[in-house]
Symmetry: C2
Subunit: 343 residues, 2 copies
């Protein structure tokens, strides 16, 4: 019942273990008849190389760890899907770890797990990692930060230009004539890189238009999920002077906000224009469909995998890479109305 090994194949074919290994690995100097004979034995026994043994010997696992906050957040689900695809295409498997917002767990995964499990590299969409954490890392496995930026850290980083994207989204709303433009999900803690950058973009758009920012319309949220968007929107609509537009820092926030606004009888976008961020599929099927910032997720996945592959395979610890992938603003009904939708 136990799986056949090189030895079994060698015995059956009447050759040495090493020769079988050579055949398996397509080593050049094996005569044709020998190759055929060994291959026959391999097929007979249904031999498959044992990767654990191979990896132990070669010191690598061809496994990349992917650490994300939660898999059921559509943005991550979509991204993870693409990353797995990219990795598979290059012969790597992906092991996923969820932090569930648990900072301690995140740190442990990044710091300890790689050398223990033998990950060749770690792609992490960080939650609360600090530059100091990264400094004190001993593991030789390269680490790549995806999305969230960690200021002053020396790790490779792949992301879109959050400031520009947020500025464009806000500018779009300003361009529509809105003036009371709320922002949901703004910076609460300066270590939250994404919020900081998007908040900056939001402010820049007002500055560029020569308009003042109403700080009271900037609502921070604990996370970027639907219920937080719903709660924030409720608070905004309870005001005496509610906003006429909202830029939400994630599509989920926007969908939560949309639900609240609709249930209060507001018309979107007439009474309230809405822009999200991430371009998750839900936003393409909501009613109304959601205007959003669409990161090039395929590009993010490709860059992430390619960058970490390079680090793994050529291992130079050169200067950290800072890669920016493109994004675009997708205009849909939640800001334009039934009229025009670009995608």
């Amino acid at each position: 019942m136990t799986a056949p090994t090189l030895r079994d194949v060698a015995e059956r074919a009447g050759v040495s273990i090493r020769t079988v290994s050579n055949v398996v690995n397509g080593y050049a100097k094996v005569t044709e008849p020998m190759k055929v004979r060994v291959q026959a034995a391999i097929d007979d026994l249904g031999y498959r190389p044992n990767l654990m043994a191979r990896n132990l010997k070669q010191g690598r696992s061809r496994i990349i760890a992917l650490v994300v906050p939660a898999l059921d957040v559509p943005y991550f689900a979509e991204l993870v899907r693409l990353i797995i695809g990219e990795a598979q295409a290059h012969g790597y498997a992906v092991l996923i770890d969820q932090t569930d917002g648990d900072v301690e767990r995140e740190r442990e995964l990044i710091m300890e797990a790689p050398q223990a499990v033998g990950f060749d590299g770690v792609i992490v969409s960080p939650l609360a990692l600090t530059a100091a954490d990264l400094e004190s890392r001993r593991s030789p496995a390269p680490i790549l930060l995806l999305g969230e930026k960690i200021f002053d850290s020396a790790a490779d980083h792949v992301a879109i230009d959050n400031v520009t994207a947020a500025r464009e989204a806000t500018a779009h709303l300003i361009g529509l004539g809105r003036r009371r433009i709320a922002a949901i999900g703004v910076e609460q803690d300066p270590s939250d890189g994404t919020a900081v950058l998007r908040t900056r973009g939001y402010r820049e758009a007002f500055a560029a238009a020569g308009l003042p920012v109403d700080e009271s319309l900037m609502v921070p949220t604990p996370h970027y999920e639907r219920r937080h968007g719903a709660a924030a929107m409720t608070a905004l609509l309870d005001r005496a002077d509610p906003p006429d537009a909202v830029f939400c820092f994630s599509d989920l926030l926007a969908l939560g906000a949309m639900r609240v606004a609709l249930s209060r009888g507001l018309r979107i976008p007439e009474d309230l224009a809405l822009v999200g961020f991430d371009d998750i599929e839900d936003g393409r099927y909501s009613t109304p469909t959601l205007t959003t910032v669409a990161p090039d997720k395929q590009g993010l996945a490709r860059s992430a995998v390619e960058t970490i592959r390079t680090r793994i395979e050529s291992g130079q610890d050169a200067t950290p890479l800072e890669i920016t992938t493109p994004h675009r603003l997708v205009l849909r009904e939640s800001s334009l109305g039934g009229a025009g939708a670009t995608a």
Copy 2:
């Protein structure tokens, strides 16, 4: 730069490798001072056991493969998240493979990968696997079917009672007084177990109510995604005699259908009541919120992991287990209207 091994620790502590191993594994017969001394060396060097080596020696990897069609389908994303959580809690890591609807790839993953990579077990939400495939599997790693049933196969199977669930959903619509109740996602191919079972439940509900089934209202779809729901709904609404209710075999189908219905100006549920299946989070935040069959996903995940753990750890190849986890019908606005929503 290279990670410290047992040997390094042993050298530093001035003891044998074996003793260090004993300390690491909490072997009972190690004196306290010895334990302290070795532990100090371990901490000094930052030693972590190399799992590849350990696994090779012990013949198991503590890795479970999870094969799903696609990660960005919310139902799978939610389920995968729970499964990873359950597995982590029991010391297993999860390696995810996506089949992307590629049947060949699915077969290969199930048949070949386990013994190659050394998976201890495989949880698969099958796409097009046949009983014959499972028969001819050589790998000793246990396999567990999640959700989709493969008739006449001898593998463990964890799922909800699809027939009953579909019957209840349909009965709910009948109970609301609807009579032209369409079904989107019905059986097209008898090998598609899920569709077969849900279709059966749909028919049973009509039979139980003494009503005839209008076959022309039963629409098959290639998959269970939003766009298929949208397409099916479009076709239904283009009829001279459109339905007054629709039971969609997935929430995504329902959301796609909802989008189409709303954009045509129909009122939900007044003109068209809608019931989905899966209870994905989107349905709780759509407008209107979606009535749906809610499988106990946490229960599914727990049963799946526990069942395969048992197989892995006690390895008896007893009779295959058939585990049914609970479900309930969650009533929301898409069938009840603004009035009552149970959850």
